[in-house]
Subunit: 268 residues, 2 copies
């Protein structure tokens, strides 16, 4: 499937929306707990990955525990394939990363998640099929499996507390994939409603209104300090980068406070 | 604690190594399951965050389930603080992000995790105390909690499958924090140190004062719109990035307007 191609699907939390189903294959080597496999599937679905392969899952496949832990990522669970040997699981791939938590004494390039995903994205765009290998819950990948991979990716964890589980590791890689897939990864997926930054005219209208109300309320006291106080307030609101509806709300608030005592004065 | 300062500790998986214990405070609003709190603590520890605060955890605190799920992140669990109100949990912070999964109809800047962490890192280097607010498992943060935050951060999830749990959300933010900590760690502090940015406590004091004055002035009309109007004003002032002296001046202005009509009322 081409990069940035989308497929409609009934799976997921909102079937009116588009589901991205492309990216590197996730390969779990001898995973032990069905729950972990399910959480891996869910993490993949969250960030648009869809192709999961298992090498000798300890508790067999299919797994009810995996399906339950996948929280409706049924499209990933249903498409999961099982292999007896890692060689078969990666046979059709062109480039794979081995994920490791600790240093291995191998002459192999070690990348951060972000670098690794950048490499995978480049290869993906060039039409290569890629994969990420994850090891057992207890001790990760063996040297044999690492040797089959082109490069190593490791996570920038706190050296004193480096206990990422496989679902977390898959989550981080999938997240980086999603970031790399987006044209502008720095940009949030939905923007603030920010078309309405107030004009200076609106801002000055607020100043005049507020200052007039405060003048009536004898806020500017003593008179020698008035200019300073007035400028402080103006600077406060200039600094506040206000939008039109915010100015509208503030003027409403000032008017309410003003009206209150003007009304009293009228009645007095 | 200074940026890039390290502390030796006996906690974690390898007590010969250094443990980073600095960064934004993680605030969980009304978390339900102890397991989730524990997994949040573990995710924080993995990437060097250490300060966890809970607002009204449903099943109480301390929690054996949390400690067990934290997988030896005991230093985070032991230091966790519990609050009855989110206002108290963030009182000493200067800048907070609200994390949301879906669009909220608010005039607030929305950032990606990477942008948000970049912002927090800048503020951290300038000596500000920052936080990240996470909501309930089922429905996230309420509008009240979001209105107390300066900006919103949301995750670039697959729109068709957007079910990140809180531990995963905390993991991603913590991971980005670790990434940002490593980029040019020697880089000089940039930007003026704005030592006078108001704390959340000062901001909440302003809210309370303004809302009480407006309540007396019958600004909140009709009653059905009160909540919306109140949150709009809170969002306006949260967005305004106010400094302590600015809050002081604003409260003086509100007091002047209030005093004016209260005086009239007294005379009436």
């Amino acid at each position: 499937m081409r990069h940035n191609e989308f497929v409609r699907t009934m799976a997921g939390t909102d079937n009116r929306k588009e589901l991205i189903t492309e990216g590197p294959v996730i390969v779990l080597c001898e995973p032990q707990l069905g729950e972990n496999i399910g959480m891996v599937a869910r993490a993949m679905a969250n960030f648009g990955l869809a192709e999961l392969r298992l090498v000798n899952p300890r508790d067999g496949w299919p797994s009810d525990k995996a399906r339950s832990a996948a929280s409706n990522a049924d499209h990933v669970i249903d498409a999961t394939k099982v292999y007896g040997r890692v060689e078969d699981a990666i046979a059709d791939l062109h480039f794979t990363y081995a994920t490791t938590a600790r240093h291995r004494d191998m002459l192999k390039t070690v990348r951060s998640p972000r670098e690794a995903i950048s490499t995978l994205m480049t290869k993906f765009k060039a039409g290569e099929k890629t994969g990420l290998l994850f090891g057992r819950e207890r001790w990760g990948l063996n040297n044999e499996e690492i040797a089959l991979s082109d490069e190593i990716v490791t996570f920038p964890v706190n050296p004193a507390f480096a206990s990422l589980n496989i679902a977390q590791a898959v989550l981080l890689m999938s997240y980086e994939w999603m970031n790399a897939s987006m044209v502008e990864p720095e940009k949030a997926v939905f923007g603030a409603i920010d078309s309405e930054i107030a004009s200076k005219q609106e801002l000055i209208g607020l100043f005049d209104h507020l200052e007039s109300a405060l003048e009536d309320a004898r806020y500017f006291h003593p008179p020698s300090k008035k200019e300073r106080m007035r400028l402080n307030l103006r600077n406060t609101f200039t600094h506040a980068n206000l939008r039109s509806p915010e100015i509208h709300a503030l003027r409403g608030a000032i008017a309410a406070l003003e009206r209150r005592w003007k009304k009293k004065r009228g009645e007095w």
